[in-house]
């Protein structure tokens, strides 16, 4: 299996799907000659031409709305929104229209739209270019949300998203783009809505997604040196959430830590914790813990920004507290 970076794996999915299906096309700001702000589409303009790699004006609402209209009429658009923070500009189109057309208009309507967007901090971009807003979209019925953690998952899940007949948000943490891993060469899809257990363990369940799966695995390694056996569940998809995998893990370990970079209140971890509390309360040996950003805008200054981000140290410390 070839080793690819995360961005190359995403590009592989785009290329394979564009080659396979002439209805698939790309839309977004600076995705042509520039290759997208994080380089995911570099080279695709030369390969597929400006008809199918469409550089748009800075008009997020219309990028997403036009993609929705195109999807509703048979195309399969893949939109890139340059920073997840800018999805706010397209929120009406996404939340009020794309997500609801199927339900309101009935089976005649389908919206096979993919919205890819770089998320997360760690690069000192400040409060409007660093957010992890994925939890908002769990509150919008009709949307699917994927957040792949590895290059292989990036390719498999994005491929599945492009073939899905519903609007799918693909959350790509900026710190993942340069990471590498083995990626299958064929057009393999991964099922949307299924988590993966990345490490088996008996003492505590660490639930994470996207960039923080790697951080959780680092923490688990250090905990192992301490004699603590952590299980790491990678959600992979945030909507629909694979409750079953998480609950089964907690039934085994009796302890749950939810890890995310988004702000704590109303976060993904809050939803995971609520489900576990509903379905596996009697299995819990300790209160559920959430590791998330404090409820502040992401600050610019490196030490301040670092203070908001979950770390392996923080996870190790939290787990040690729980087992004390």
């Amino acid at each position: 299996m070839p080793e690819l970076t995360y961005w190359q794996a995403l590009q592989e999915a785009l290329r394979q799907e564009m080659t396979r299906d002439p209805l698939v096309f790309l839309m977004g700001e600076d995705i042509g000659a520039y290759g997208g702000a994080f380089g995911v589409t570099r080279g695709l303009l030369a390969e597929f031409g400006p008809e199918r790699v469409r550089c748009t004006p800075i008009s997020e609402a219309t990028i997403v709305g036009a993609a929705t209209g195109a999807a509703l009429t048979g195309m399969r658009p893949v939109v890139e929104i340059m920073f997840m923070d800018f999805v706010t500009l397209a929120m009406d189109q996404l939340a009020n229209h794309a997500a609801k057309f199927r339900y309101m208009y009935g089976p005649q309507a389908r919206v096979p739209l993919v919205l890819r967007t770089p998320a997360g901090g760690g690069r000192c971009y400040g409060a409007t270019h660093s957010q992890s807003l994925e939890a908002w979209f769990l509150h919008v019925p009709g949307l699917k949300v994927i957040a792949p953690a590895t290059p292989a998952d990036a390719k498999g899940l994005l491929t599945a998203a492009i073939r899905d007949d519903n609007p799918v948000l693909c959350v790509e943490h900026k710190l993942l783009y340069a990471t590498t891993g083995p990626v299958p060469e064929d057009e393999e899809t991964l099922p949307i809505g299924r988590a993966a257990t990345r490490r088996q363990g008996r003492d505590v369940t660490l639930v994470a997604y996207s960039y923080y799966v790697g951080i959780a695995l680092q923490a688990a390694q250090r905990l192992a040196d301490d004699g603590i056996d952590a299980e790491v569940v990678d959600l992979r998809t945030l909507a629909p959430l694979d409750t079953e995998t998480v609950v089964q893990s907690v039934r085994k370990t009796g302890r749950l830590v939810c890890i995310e970079e988004g702000t704590r209140t109303g976060g993904v971890g809050a939803e995971v914790a609520a489900r576990v509390a509903e379905l596996a309360y009697e299995y819990l040996d300790a209160p559920i813990r959430r590791i998330a950003a404090p409820d502040v805008p992401i600050p610019f200054s490196p030490p301040l920004e670092q203070e908001t981000l979950p770390t392996a140290d923080g996870i190790v410390h939290t787990v040690q507290e729980m087992l004390r």
């Binding site: 008809e51 004006p57 219309t62 036009a66 009429t73 309101m104 005649q108």
Partner: protein
Amino acid sequence: MTSSGASLSADAARGALYLLMLIRAFEERVLQLVSDGSIRGTTHPYVGQEAVAVGACMALRADDWVVSTHRGHGHLLAKGGDPNRLMAELFGKAAGYGGGKGGTQHMADFAVGHLGSNGVTGGGIPIGTGAALSAQMRGTSQVVAVFFGDGAANQGTFHESLNLASLWRLPAIYVCENNLYAMSTPMRDACAIEHIADRAAAYGMPGVQADGMDVLAVAAAMHAAVEHARAGRGPTLIECKTYRFLGHSKSDQRAYRSREEEAAWRERDPITRLRAVIAARGLASATDVDAIERDAVAAVDAAVDFARRSPFPDPHAVLDGVFADANDRCPS
């Protein structure tokens, strides 16, 4: 302004008159049904504006698309939608366009080229723009009529979409139904210029004024815009000054405008005007016109009857249809 309707055939004239009368009768009946509680929620009556929807759709092919608004019943009927299913949707019945899940502001009939009404002011403008992109990319020669009001013209989506459509020469026709009030706010308090069509210059597309109270004037402007779009020359902005004879929605007492102003606009009733053209040109006899009106009212009667007799959806259906999947029940 109606001179371009000189070649109007008798069939086209009768067809247009029927649709004007159908929409008028439908909307007046809906308002009664909302008042007596048969229909819950709200409604945004199209009474007075019928010439815009009917005139615009006269210039469209069956496979062309329209994107509609919150005041959308007229667009659906004008594009060939089924009054029965429309009325059933307003009643919240299973036989309605969305099985009762959409309601007055959220229904579509793709089979007749209607891509959906839209409850957010300006929300449909990008959707229609994307449908035009889809038509262009697939080389279908379809065009899209995107309806919106004067209020929506002040939304960012108007600017973004018209710019993009012109840039990409998309086959879209932006039909602004300027009924002079965004809910209660007069156009002069919300828009820095008098004519929304003038904004077309900023996007490098033709901007046209058409008398929105004259179905033939609207149709003529649309014909030109459709031809322009099908020739690959891009979008047009058509502004139809019109007037809603009734309030914004069911509870509007119209405190923001005078009864005199309303009376003056009623003098320009699009139905009266088309009847006069039909009489003057001998396109239909008075008896024929009466029969057309009876047919329109009968269609509304039948729609109400259909809607009343239809069952409500099974409450369990609430979880169905969130996703377009083989197994599309809402995941737990």
